[in-house]
Structure formats: structure tokens, C-alpha cells
């Protein structure tokens, strides 16, 4: 009896998660794989084949966009790490317990507003007749209106702003678990600031860095709104390509193929990153 109850409660606790994984993650992806392997012959006539994938590799525009998206996402990840690390370190190690809560809250506040509104915020700030441009003219730093919108730099800024929280949180929670005496010992043994950072803090924070980077990279490569709204004439983003295939070209087959390719590509990058830093996925998950 006791055993039955325990087993039932286990099943009940596990069921929502299992349903979520199977119904919302696994099944749709299986569907996408099938869809991507369909070749369109004529209206309402389809055949099994790899044409959609071959098409991707034959058309330089497509894989160029994917490579572009990948490299810009990497840049965003690196910038988020460089900017986020000192913040996380300050929150976890330097700030007092009460300030810590307040700082975390400040980091969270932007998340209460939707992506769309935040992107429009940047548009209002950076456009030719926007706030920044006007201030520059008013202070005499610029003679004519300055256009800061519609280019890749803006896209990178917008993306870093959107995702940096996902870098700070895992980093701060890893650093939080670090014993302060380790840093003190480093200094006692004659290490300088940079040495302590390089030999003690960073190795300890490595699981946090890895998981933060994975989340940020995945979010960036899969983002749609920010690159579309802030990007300029030449800023193609791969998700835009997928949307176009699905919606404007009614080509679900190649849209599905592109989706699978994006998933494969980002997974490959993450795997390479873990390999190069000597981390394992299990390690990054348990330590943060």
C-alpha cells in the first residue's frame, strides 16, 4: 500500500514534465523532421527526399546568413560575458546581503517589459530624430542629426541588453557558492589581482560561465524581434529566413529544413564550446 502510494505520487509528479517534453518538444520536432524530408513535386503532391537540405547548401545566401547569425551570436555571447562577469562578481562577492537582493531586482526589472517594447525603446533612443541624437546636437558634439539605428552595431547592443540577465544569474549563483577564503588564500600566497582572477575565480566559475554562454548563445541565435526591428538594409538573421519560408513563401518544407539546420548548427557550436573549455553538459547543469 505504502509502496503503491509512493509510486503513484512519483508518476503524478513526473507526469507534467513528461507530457511537456513529449507533447511540446519531442512531437513537434519529429513532425518538423518529417516535413523537412518532403519534396514538393506539384500542388498537393509530395515525395520523400533531401531536396530541401541540398537547396540550403547550394544557395550561398542561406548558409551565409546562418554563418552570419552564428558569428554575431558568438560576439553577443562574448560581450555579455565580459559585461556580465563584473556585475555578477559584484553581486555575489562584494555587495552586502541587502544590496544584493536589490541589485538582482534591478537586473530583473527589464524582463517585466516585453521584448517588443524594449526594442521600441532602443528605436526611440537611437533614431536620427531620437533622444541620443538630439542630446549630441544640443551639447554641440554633433553638428547634424546622427543616425544610430539600422545597423549591425545596434543589433548587437540590443541583443546584449536583452540577454545579459541570463548571463548574470548563473554566474552570480556559481560565484555565490565560492568560499571567500579561497580568494584570500590566493592573495596571502602573493598572487596579484589578475593572477587570482585567472587561476582561482575563473576556473571556479567555469561551469557558470559555460551555462550562461550556452543560454545566451541559444537565445540570441533563435531571437527574431530584436534583429528585425533594429537591423538595417543588410542585416539578415536566420530566423527571419525561416519565417519567410514558412509564411511569405508557403514553403513549410524548406522552412522545416532550415529550422532543423539551425538546431543542428547551434547544438554543434555548443558542443564545440564545451569541448574546447573542457566542460561537460552535466557538470554545467549541476554546479549552477
Amino acid at each position: 500500500m505504502q509502496k503503491d502510494i509512493r509510486r503513484l505520487s512519483l508518476i503524478l509528479l513526473f507526469a507534467p514534465f513528461a507530457l511537456w517534453i513529449v507533447l511540446l518538444i519531442l512531437l513537434p520536432h519529429v513532425g518538423m523532421v518529417f516535413l523537412s524530408l518532403r519534396e514538393k513535386i506539384a500542388p498537393r503532391v509530395y515525395e520523400f527526399g533531401f531536396a530541401n537540405y541540398i537547396e540550403f547548401f547550394n544557395e550561398p545566401i542561406y548558409w551565409n546568413t546562418l554563418v552570419r547569425t552564428g558569428s554575431m551570436s558568438l560576439l553577443v555571447t562574448v560581450l555579455a560575458l565580459i559585461i556580465g562577469f563584473p556585475i555578477a562578481y559584484y553581486i555575489a562577492k562584494i555587495a552586502g546581503p541587502r544590496v544584493r537582493g536589490a541589485l538582482f531586482l534591478f537586473c530583473l526589472v527589464p524582463l517585466w517589459v516585453s521584448d517588443l517594447i524594449r526594442a521600441f525603446g532602443w528605436i526611440l533612443l537611437l533614431r536620427e530624430t531620437g533622444v541620443v541624437s538630439n542630446i549630441l546636437q544640443w551639447t554641440g558634439l554633433a553638428a547634424a542629426p546622427v543616425e544610430m539605428l539600422y545597423n549591425d552595431v545596434t543589433v548587437v547592443i540590443g541583443l546584449v541588453y536583452t540577454v545579459i540577465l541570463f548571463m548574470i544569474v548563473p554566474l552570480a549563483s556559481t560565484l555565490d557558492g565560492m568560499d571567500n577564503s579561497m580568494i584570500e588564500a590566493g592573495y596571502n600566497l602573493g598572487g596579484r589581482g589578475t593572477t587570482v582572477l585567472r587561476r582561482i575565480i575563473i576556473p571556479y566559475a567555469m561551469p557558470g560561465i559555460a551555462s550562461g554562454c550556452i543560454i545566451v548563445f541559444m537565445l540570441t541565435a533563435g531571437s527574431y524581434l530584436t534583429p528585425i526591428l533594429l537591423g538595417g538594409k543588410n542585416s539578415s538573421w536566420f530566423t527571419e529566413q525561416i519565417y519567410d519560408q514558412f509564411i511569405t513563401r508557403y514553403n513549410w518544407e524548406s522552412g522545416a529544413a532550415f529550422g532543423m539546420l539551425l538546431l543542428a548548427f547551434t547544438s554543434l557550436v555548443v558542443w564545440l564550446g564545451l569541448r574546447l573549455t573542457g566542460q561537460s553538459l552535466a557538470n554545467t547543469v549541476t554546479k549552477t
Binding site: P43, R44, N64, E128, E147, Q241, Q245, Y250, N251
Partner: protein, 358 residues
């Protein structure tokens, strides 16, 4: 055993629950933003208390994608443009024929009704009737670009960095017309159309340097235009009329080669469940007093007799400022998009976007 009973009970509850909701008739509209103003919906529900109206806002491409995903279920009335029905029906079988005897077609303006009928008749059955029509063309700030008249003026170095366009099929067609081609005639011969497209792509890539940014939506465009960051752009007429109300220097400019004309239709999805309510809605919004409310919201002209006179005063002023009788005689109706065209145009647009010209 007990679990089985519980599950059965739950399923039964679910079935009965949904069934009781379905009894009060619901009209599920799949339409454009602003095509179902609250005022009209409330008026309709007051007149037919047993019908509840649910509105989903969308656009041409998403309407077709949504209906395709369900095989034409989930909505009772859709409003795609007249050129998006023939091919979508042949490819995906998502619409069903209309019973014209249930619609008061006598109030519809003949040219639009016949045009839509010609475009959407498959195997002798009519799939759509017209609702509102409008155009895609140009808009310019007359105080800064008084000479602006043609599609290719967007690429005139005189306005360098001061023009905009939407990177969609409209600009491909406009450019083709201004190069002296008739792209709609070329739809019949895909090789010929590809040649035209290649030329258009070259022109638009060279033009990239001249463009400030590609706009993505009406609000985007209005902000660019009203702030004075650009002086001219490709546009939807409704956006131009809206801007005219805020700055009367900015007018819609029908291009010299003819404004590109679309007609949004009423079309029944294949698995629609409330056809009668749908016909009631169609007849309801075609009444003169309701046409004015609708046009005030959409900024487009109703495809009824005297539709232009039924516009609200502010829109009428904007239309009068933009159109001459010649321009109206020169309208170019969007032709049915045959299968395969979307792919060709999509590739052309990708090439333009990916080119590093500007």
C-alpha cells in the same frame, strides 16, 4: 478500474463542456487589423443577440498559413486579398464556394464584384466577394519632394538616404512596371518572369544605397515619415491617408505607371461552422451607414456603389488630395499569383536583402 472511470468522466465533461459553448453561435472572423472595429462588432451583436463575434487579426500570408495548418478549420469567415485565393485553394484546399444568393450583391460596385469573381472562380464556383479595396503606391512630402511621381524616383540620387520601401513583392512589381514591363502578363510564362525579376533585382540592389531603411510595418513607416527622416516612400494608401491627417504636406502619390490595386474579400474557410452568421455579417457591413464606420477604421474604400462618397470626411480629404480621374483610370489590379511565383519572388527579395550594396 477507478482511474478508468475518472478519466471517462473527465472526457465526458470536456465533450459536454465544449458542446454547450458551441450552442450559442460564434462567428470567428479571420481578418486584417482594423477590419472589425469594436463599434461595428457591438452593433452587430446587438442586432443578432444569439451570435457572438470573435476576431483574429492577421495578414494575407498568415491567414493562409493558419488555414493551411488546420485544413480550413477554426474560422468561419476569412478576408484574404483577391489575388491570394485561386492558388491557395488549388494547393491547399482551404476555402469553400460561396452561395451568392445569400448576399446582397446589388450594393457592390460592379467592377470590383466582377473582378473578384473572375479571379476566384474555380470549376464554375465562386469563392469570394469583394469587401474593401485600396492601393499600394508612393507617398511624398510635397514641401520637400514636389516632383516625386514614379517608383524609380525612390532611387533618384536627389533623395539619397531620404527614401524607404518595404522589401516585399509590391516593390518588385512596381519596379518591373517602371522598367516598361507588364509583370502580370508575364505570370503566364515563368521564364520570362524570371528574366524580368533578374533585371528588377539588379536595379533594386543598385538602389540600396539610396534607401535609408526598409520599413516593416505601418507604424514604422509613419514614424520615419512624420519625423522627416525620409521625404518619400513606397506605401499602402491607408498609411498615407492616416499620415495626411497629421501633416497635410504628405500625400499619397499614385505612381505614373498606375497604383497597384488590391481588393480584400469575404471568403469562407473550408471547415467553417457558422455560414449563416458569416452571410449576416457580410450583409451587415455592406450597409451604407456601416460602410462609413468600417472605412473610418480601415482607411480603405468599400467596394460598394459610391464607396468613395461613404468615406468619413477626413479620409475623403486625403483621397481627394491624392487622386485625379486619370490616376483612377490607370489602376493596375493585382493579378492572381500562380503557383511557383512566391518562390521566385522570395528568392529575388533574399538576393536584394543579402547584397551589400549600401
Amino acid at each position: 478500474m477507478r482511474i478508468k472511470t475518472t478519466v471517462t468522466c473527465m472526457i465526458a465533461a470536456l465533450v459536454f463542456g465544449t458542446a454547450s459553448i458551441a450552442q450559442a453561435e460564434t462567428l470567428r472572423l479571420l481578418t486584417w487589423g482594423s477590419y472589425a472595429p469594436d463599434e461595428l462588432v457591438q452593433k452587430f451583436e446587438a442586432e443578432y443577440p444569439d451570435i457572438k463575434v470573435e476576431v483574429t487579426f492577421s495578414n494575407n500570408e498568415e491567414m493562409i498559413a493558419k488555414l493551411r495548418a488546420t485544413g480550413g478549420a477554426g474560422f468561419d469567415l476569412a478576408q484574404p486579398s483577391h489575388d491570394r485565393i485561386h492558388a491557395a485553394q488549388l494547393e491547399y484546399d482551404i476555402y469553400k464556394p460561396m452561395d451568392l444568393s445569400k448576399i446582397d450583391t446589388s450594393v457592390m460596385s460592379t467592377v470590383h464584384l466582377e473582378g473578384v469573381k473572375a479571379n476566384t472562380t474555380i470549376d464554375g464556383e465562386v469563392y469570394s466577394v469583394p469587401h474593401q479595396w485600396g492601393t499600394s503606391g508612393l507617398m511624398a512630402d510635397k514641401s520637400k519632394a514636389p516632383e516625386f511621381k514614379n517608383w524609380m524616383d525612390l532611387c533618384d540620387p536627389m533623395y539619397k538616404g531620404k527614401t524607404s520601401m518595404r522589401l516585399k513583392r509590391t516593390i518588385l512589381l512596381g519596379t518591373a512596371f517602371s522598367l516598361g514591363y507588364d509583370p502580370f502578363a508575364a505570370y503566364a510564362d515563368l521564364d520570362e518572369y524570371q528574366r524580368i525579376l533578374d533585371e528588377v533585382v539588379e536595379v533594386l540592389i543598385a538602389c540600396k544605397d539610396n534607401i535609408k531603411a526598409y520599413w516593416k510595418g505601418g507604424d514604422d513607416l509613419a514614424a520615419l515619415m512624420l519625423s522627416g527622416e525620409i521625404v518619400a516612400s513606397e506605401t499602402w494608401d491607408s498609411t498615407a491617408y492616416r499620415i495626411y491627417n497629421e501633416n497635410s504636406n504628405i500625400v499619397f502619390v499614385p505612381p505614373g505607371t498606375g497604383a497597384l490595386t488590391w481588393i480584400d474579400t469575404f471568403t469562407l474557410p473550408r471547415k467553417a461552422k457558422a455560414d449563416d452568421a458569416a452571410y449576416k455579417w457580410i450583409n451587415f457591413v455592406l450597409r451604407p451607414e456601416n460602410v462609413t464606420i468600417m472605412s473610418a477604421s480601415t482607411g480603405a474604400i468599400a467596394a460598394v456603389n459610391g464607396g468613395q462618397d461613404l468615406l468619413p470626411p477626413d479620409k475623403k480629404a486625403a483621397v481627394t488630395a491624392a487622386w485625379s480621374a486619370e490616376d483612377i483610370a490607370n489602376l493596375q489590379f493585382f493579378a492572381n499569383i500562380p503557383p511557383g511565383i512566391e518562390d521566385m519572388e522570395g528568392k529575388a527579395l533574399e538576393k536584394i536583402k543579402a547584397a551589400t550594396g549600401g
